[in-house]
């Protein structure tokens, strides 16, 4: 089609998308890196200051803490969310009667926004809120916590909301993977006398490699850039124990107009995302290729 009519038509078709994407995503991406070498605070002019922002960044305990929180958060969400999603999918894969209704129920939290989920959970987590009352009612009062007020727990409490929202999403993705496993393969394993665990370990786990890749990628991208949950639930507190990189970038722009610092923090986030996601995809793609 395009060969016959020359390049004119294909350029006309690609151009709008490339222009919007280039101007509003790629250009800021490049300009952000340049911005991080300046002292821009939103004024009309700025000066080149070399690595000053970066040296401030690595000497700033808040930023290093936020980096650590972001990594811990992403790791916890990745492992627990994917683990729960996989377990649910494994249980549901051979229960056609309830698969649809249960997976729809599990998917429900993924439809509300993080803001709305945070509204609900901020009440449940309150000192006299839903969870503590429930624990008291069933005689487990000793387990009561100030969930969002304790610096050693708050980050995990927020991760739990994230996991609650998206575990069902993870389950549905794994179920799509299960639907792609040929029934003969599972039957063959059964006929060979494989136990439930052996069948999962040797057949299903291997065949689910592509859906695992999708799950890991989605969960990493989402949780490394996490913002809504800590903003609404704790606003980074108590004593900075739930600050994430995204939250710091937002504050740099919104509260301090320190665009250069925001850009330097953003470069740190970009490096983190690129390193983590290429490491993950190298491992996962190799698994898929073995298949």
């Amino acid at each position: 089609m395009f060969r016959r009519r020359g390049r004119y038509a294909s350029i006309v078709l690609i151009l709008p998308a490339l222009a919007v994407y280039g101007l509003f995503i790629l250009y800021p991406l490049v300009r952000g890196v340049l911005l991080s070498f300046t002292d821009n605070t939103g004024g009309p002019t700025d000066a080149f200051v070399g690595l000053k922002q970066y040296s401030a960044l690595i000497h700033d305990p808040t930023a290093l803490q936020a980096l650590r929180h972001t990594v811990i958060y992403a790791a916890v969400v990745l492992v627990v969310q994917t683990g729960l999603g996989l377990s649910a999918a494994a249980l549901l894969s051979r229960r056609p009667h309830i698969r649809r209704v249960v997976s729809s129920m599990l998917l429900l939290p993924a439809l509300i926004s993080p803001v709305m989920a945070s509204f609900i959970w901020s009440y449940l987590y309150r000192p006299d809120g839903g969870i503590d009352t429930l624990l008291g009612d069933v005689g487990l009062g000793v387990l009561r916590q100030t969930w969002l007020g304790d610096p050693s727990i708050a980050l995990y409490a927020i991760a739990a909301v994230n996991i609650w929202m998206f575990a069902g999403y993870s389950c549905v993705i794994f179920l799509a993977g299960y639907a792609g496993i040929p029934a003969e393969l599972l039957d063959a394993a059964d006929i060979d006398g494989a136990t439930r665990w052996q069948r999962f370990r040797k057949v299903e786990w291997a065949m689910l490699a592509p859906s695992l890749t999708v799950n890991v990628t989605i969960s990493l991208i989402g949780s490394l850039g996490v913002f809504d949950f800590p903003l609404v639930l704790t606003n980074g507190g108590p004593v900075g124990s739930t600050n994430t990189l995204a939250l710091l970038i937002y504050r740099d722009i919104f509260n301090n107009s320190d665009f250069a610092m925001g850009a330097a923090t953003a470069v740190l986030l970009l490096v983190l995302v690129v390193v983590v996601s290429s490491a993950a995809s190298a491992v996962l793609r190799r698994r898929e290729r073995v298949l």
Binding site: V20, I25, G225
Partner: protein, 296 residues
Amino acid sequence: MTDTDLTSTVTRPAAPPPPAVAVRPRRRRGVVVDCLLVLVALAFITPFLFTLVASFRTSGDIARNPLGLPHHLTIANYRTSIDQIRYGSSVLNTLLLTLASCVAVSIIGAAASYPLGRLTSHLSSMVYRLFVIGLTIPIFVIIAPLYLLMRDLHLLDSRIGLVIIYTALNLPVSVFFYTSFVRQIPVQLEEAAALDGCGPLRTFFSIVFPLLRPITGTLLTFVSLQVWNNLVVPLVFLQDASKSTVMANAYSFADPHTLQPTQLFPAALLGALPLFLLFLVFQRQVVEGMTQGAVK
């Protein structure tokens, strides 16, 4: 079924076939596990059910017994909440933004994906890869320079500015979906159109774009979810609350730390309501839209 069939079934001794005896305990166990799983799933969505019930209770009633059943129901909470988070105008704004972004993302994205899916040149695969990079970049990576850019273009605090940002943010997923779909469409249709003297642009609009309908549905559910639920974009790029979205106004006007649950819960449910309706109507497309990547 004829009479004879019926009598023969009735008169036949009700001896169960032998395998049934062996199967039955296992099947019964299956039913028990099924019920357990449904119960676990119910426990999982309990926070919703609790929120739903509590949103109709009075604040004194909740304070006395947070987990109890309501004594009498009231919709007064909802009235307060609707005013507080400026629900009416927020919903309208969010709907408009979502619609405009969906139209732009699907048309521009599909137009670019058609040649990208057909051409095999080095350049076109490079452009495609450039788009796909965008799938992994969190908005926070570009938000500082994007803010300066929008300011310089006088697109701050503007609805059009927001539509542009949402379109740009969702173009990668759009190009990713459409390109893989275009590659599955047989070329013969387009060749026939070309023989009839139809140029590439007309071929795209009158033949290819309509063929992309199934994937467009999937894409649009995905994009609507993104746009509707997004918080940071309106928060950073809009100042005027009367232009702002449901999520941004809910965040700005309902502080979860000081509000009574009677004010908080209606806000949470009202914010989610339009998407729940969408989910009920388009249940299949939503599930597909959210899992599309898994089969690719």
